[in-house]
Symmetry: C2
Subunit: 243 residues, 2 copies
């Protein structure tokens, strides 16, 4: 009899040192919008996404062969053509065959925090079913790491963690002994699944993005299964491992 | 027009440096069982509870005039007569007129973390209605600080935070701009309020306590409004301020 693989959930990068388990595959989640954007860019022809923590580091990449993107506080950083809007990468011929260098407020910071894990991949509603199948095949414990907002919890990443945990539990995964964060996320998912957009209306980042007229981005980020990419970190680059 | 007071929720002491707001009244919560025990002891005749972080510090208090109590991992520490079981303080003549020196795994650590707040009080289901009335009268912002379990989130403190936030919202309080932790707690409360004991069954600490045969403690800690004490920290001692 083999031991079933375990699901752990960490609701903000600030808690990662406490929940950390380097033998797990870490799934980094930043629904609004970094990990949604990464999946979209890889689906639409970017060959790799290079997550970098600092804006200065992003500036060092040459224009040739690279698309350089920076977001802070929900907006494209001055001097950059791209931020973390998934829609800016959809059906965009400029990104085809190029590498996307990306720095964002929360998502790329979370990737950086978990870079020493056994493996690191990226999750979003857009790839949730393919990602689940891929995780099942790896036969390893899974840590879902929510990017949150400036080290605070957020609602949308918590709900996604609950959704992914729900799918993995259906596939024979079990919860960790210290399971309360997972139980919280599962409850949030159950309560929101019928209409996530409405459930998320009072949330902080939903309101922040509404002020920036990013309603279309929000709708897009909440759509399930629009891609079959599974971005996995290899030598500092997120590559689509699911051919 | 005056600005309505704000509710903030911090789901574990590890996040307190991020959510911290020293102009707020901090309500420390450790439902299973430190803050429930503190309310019970004050209700049943203890004159003050002195929270201390370390076991060694608790040992320094003389037997005369003090009851010294220590809990770690759910159990009474060797060499101490008391831990954090509320039932051990109920109708117990030994504690009347004495001060209770208490060190616990999570609750007293959370009190220590928030000791520089504008005011610090202790909340439990046992005093939730009286506590709400008292907080309304203070006309200050409120930070609900969950003790959690070894810096992880736990379900029961999150639910209590949601219950208290629900009562305060009814009294004109509003949520903070960064409100997602509060929205999470409110959802958990809504889902669990009809039968908290059943809802909490899969939770980590509920299972930990069941193994230690502490079912009666669990039932007691989930009872609402068994006391009207409001323990407030003054010069390092929790005193009942509600006469």
């Amino acid at each position: 009899m083999t031991t079933p693989p375990v699901i752990r959930i960490c609701l903000t990068p600030a808690l990662y040192p406490i929940y950390r388990d380097d033998s797990s595959i870490v799934v980094v989640v930043d629904i609004f919008r970094a990990t949604s954007a990464i999946c979209t860019a890889l689906h639409h022809g970017t060959t790799a996404v290079i997550p970098v923590a600092a804006i200065e580091e992003a500036k060092n990449y040459p224009g040739n062969g690279y698309i350089v993107a920076a977001e802070r506080g929900g907006e494209v950083v001055d001097g950059f053509a791209y931020g973390n809007s998934p829609l800016s990468y959809r059906n965009n011929p400029d990104i085809i065959g190029k590498k996307l260098v990306l720095t964002t407020t929360n998502g790329t910071q979370a990737i950086y925090a978990a870079k020493d894990a056994a493996a690191l991949c990226v999750g979003a509603f857009s790839n949730i079913t393919t990602l689940t199948s891929w995780l099942v095949k790896q036969k390893k414990d899974v840590m879902i790491l929510c990017a949150g907002w400036k080290n605070r919890l957020n609602l949308e990443d918590t709900i996604f963690a609950g959704a992914l945990a729900h799918l993995l539990l259906d596939q024979g995964f079990v919860l960790d002994i210290d399971r309360d964060a997972a139980l919280i996320a599962l409850t949030l998912y159950e309560q929101s699944k019928e209409n996530m957009n409405v459930f998320l209306e009072p949330s902080s980042h939903r309101q922040r993005l509404s002020k920036l007229n990013l309603e279309k981005d929000i709708d897009y980020c909440l759509q399930w299964d629009t891609t079959t990419v599974v971005p996995v970190l290899m030598n500092g680059e997120l590559i689509n491992i699911q051919k």
